[in-house]
């Protein structure tokens, strides 16, 4: 008896949503943060899929035909980046064919894109700071924007109209052309993302998440101040760091809430700088957690489900991070002791993860199945658990991903 795509979709969605609500579904859901795995699996270069939407759709749908996950990742908004990054001469990534070889995933280029002495300018008007200071540094094609006067001073006939003269400065015409190219590429990304969403729905797959945001501290540290800058600021500029984080919170919240306008419910939030080792619990409680907690609560209050990826390890913070609305939040763990997490926060938070990539890349199917079995039996007990890889499964062995799916089907039945 074969199910229609609509039936499959409904079954998978119910399975995942029941687990998120801390209920007991028919069986343990199995999803996979696939990363660039579909490209490797379909044997197309990463360069190809980052620039060619048809190739990307073909590789991703081939993967979904062969791997029966309970959700599908839509790769367009965060992976189909070739044309748009090219048009802006984007500096914060090296990507396939642009700094790394054609088969490599993209890598972030760390830097101090905002100096500590610029905090006050950022805090006064973050958008102005971004357009005239930050964009010129991260987009080579927008460098001339550094010469603009603040746009907020263009107010009325008697204030600011003459400021439009600055748009005639050398290089501004090229900025305009670059923006038009970026606009075209952005529209293409949006169309392809919608197209892909339609394709997977027809295949019977709900999408894993429909929106994206980040912890306010991470946004500041990842993209503006740099990892080391963020750490040093806790000692050298604690008040400004706090003020900037607070300024970032509503920006990150609205970004997450925009998921709703697209009809989505799940917001992906990957975390970077609040992990064990990256700061003490005292520093976490002071600089990191309050704005992240507010972000999570703000999304939940609007009916959205934050899917928080705790990269690295955060076992030492389990007591703290469990303080979120029950049954409304997913925590995806990488190296955190997920068994301990089950004991400490399993009654409030749906747990997701955490088959190690070391096992997925170098182990065999039997190793993977054995690890999954233990996860299912212990962490899956009583529901509230989604089986997944610990981190993007880029170069996992295909047979190991199949083993993870089999494990969910074989050992994960609740009834």
């Amino acid at each position: 008896m074969s199910q229609s795509p609509q039936e499959l979709f409904a079954e998978k969605e119910a399975r995942v949503d029941t687990a998120i609500a801390l209920g007991v579904p028919d069986r343990v859901p199995v999803t996979c943060m696939t990363g660039f795995f579909p490209a490797y699996y379909a044997k197309v270069s990463l360069r190809d899929v980052m620039y060619d939407a048809d190739k990307m759709i073909a590789a991703w749908t081939q993967t979904l035909r062969d791997f029966d996950f309970d959700t599908a990742d839509n790769p367009f908004m965060i992976r189909f980046l070739g044309a748009i990054m090219e048009s802006l001469d984007y500096k914060q990534l090296k990507w396939a064919g642009h700094g790394v070889d054609d088969m490599s995933g993209y890598q972030f280029v760390e830097g101090e894109y905002m100096k500590p002495e610029e905090y006050d300018e950022f805090i006064f008007d973050p958008t102005d700071f971004m357009i005239r200071r930050y964009w010129p540094r991260i987009f080579g094609a927008l460098a001339p924007l550094a010469g603009l006067p603040p746009l907020r001073e263009i107010i009325t006939y008697s204030m600011g109209l003459a400021n439009f003269a600055a748009l005639g400065a050398p290089g501004m015409r090229e900025v305009g052309l670059a923006l038009i190219k970026a606009a075209d590429a952005g529209q293409q990304m949006g169309k392809n993302a919608a197209q892909f969403a339609g394709v997977i729905k027809e295949m019977g797959f709900p999408s894993t998440y429909q929106g994206f945001t980040q912890a306010p501290f991470d946004t500041l540290s990842d993209y503006f101040r740099g990892t080391l800058g963020g750490m040093m600021d806790m000692f050298r500029h604690p008040d400004q760091l706090m003020a900037a984080t607070e300024k970032m919170l509503p920006i990150m919240l609205r970004l997450g809430l925009s998921t709703k306008q697209r009809g989505g419910t799940k917001v992906f939030i990957p975390l970077h700088k609040g992990l064990d080792g990256f700061m003490s619990n005292d520093q976490f409680l002071r600089f990191y957690w309050p704005s992240l907690k507010a972000l999570i609560e703000g999304l939940v209050a609007e009916g959205l489900i934050p899917v928080v990826l705790w990269e690295g390890e955060c076992t030492s913070r389990l007591e703290i991070i469990g303080d979120v609305p029950a049954g409304k939040v997913v925590y995806h763990f990488e190296r955190t002791d997920i068994f301990k997490a089950k004991e400490i926060i399993g009654d409030r938070v749906c747990l997701k993860g955490n088959v190690p990539l070391s096992l997925m890349v170098t182990g065999g199917p039997d190793d993977v199945k054995a690890y999954c079995k233990k996860l299912i039996e212990v962490v899956g007990k009583g529901g509230g658990f989604i089986l997944d890889a610990a981190a993007p499964a880029d170069d996992a062995k295909p047979e190991n991903l199949q083993a993870m799916i089999q494990a969910a089907k074989e050992y994960g039945r609740y009834a």
Binding site: K94, V100, D101, S104, G105, Q107, V109, E110, T227, L228, M231, M232, M234, F235, R236, G277, F278, M279, S280, Q283, S316, P356, L357, S358, L359, V361, T362, G363, A390, A391, D394, D395
Partner: protein, 214 residues
């Protein structure tokens, strides 16, 4: 102002205070090596606190910053004095090919240096052949391979194999570290050890030079 106060200020990460004390010591004509010795003792305390889970990366980074500024301060004085600093051993460090992550590696380099090792830092995205060349020239006891991405697994393995092919594998101990690294990956790459943080790089190197790693 005394050595003891400098150790106290630096090991509790009071940057301005530590710098002021060091400046005073210089003004009063203190022996630059005594200042350096105080910094070294402070870094040992910081390292111990890190290993104990009292301090974390931000404290290591800040202590490194303080050390760097004090080193700059006394550099002109050290030039006159002799530079017969004793080395505990030699370590080649680098992020393997295909990976451009440097923060973890840089902290490993810093902690190895303040603990008395001579370090040759090959940087990021380092091909296996460059590690082989560095081992030939620098004759280290330890090669430390860093990598954050899963692509690093294979390139660490390649690097270990390249050392073997060059007939150098028996002369060095290889430690790997970063991101997804665990015992599974240690076995896969053929490394001798893996470390979870900078202090584990230091303790491994110390163990190797003491002859404690077979």
């Amino acid at each position: 102002m005394s050595q003891q106060q400098l150790i106290e200020a630096m090991s509790t990460i009071k940057e301005q205070e530590a710098l002021a004390i060091a400046q005073d010591m210089v003004k009063q004509g203190a022996d630059p090596f005594a200042i350096l010795e105080a910094c070294k003792q402070a870094m040992t305390i910081v390292g111990d606190n890190f290993a104990k889970g009292v301090y974390f990366l931000p404290e290591l980074v800040m202590a490194g910053q303080i050390l760097m500024q004090i080193s700059e301060l006394i550099k002109p004085l050290l030039k006159e004095a002799s530079s017969d600093k004793e080395s505990l051993g030699r370590v080649v460090v680098g992020t393997v090919e295909g990976d451009i992550h440097d923060i973890g590696k840089d902290i490993v380099v810093l902690m190895l240096e303040v603990n008395g090792f001579e370090v040759r830092d090959l940087g990021i995205d380092v091909p296996a052949a460059k590690f082989v060349e560095a081992v030939r020239e620098f004759d280290p006891q330890v090669v430390a391979l860093s990598g954050f991405l899963t692509v690093a697994f294979d390139n660490m393995k390649k690097t270990v194999e390249a050392l073997k092919e060059a007939g150098l594998r028996d002369k060095v101990k290889v430690q790997i570290g970063g991101g997804q690294i665990d015992e599974e990956i240690r076995r896969y790459t053929g490394a001798d050890d893996y470390g979870l943080d900078a202090m584990e790089a230091v303790s491994f190197a110390k163990k190797v030079v003491a002859g404690g790693v077979q």
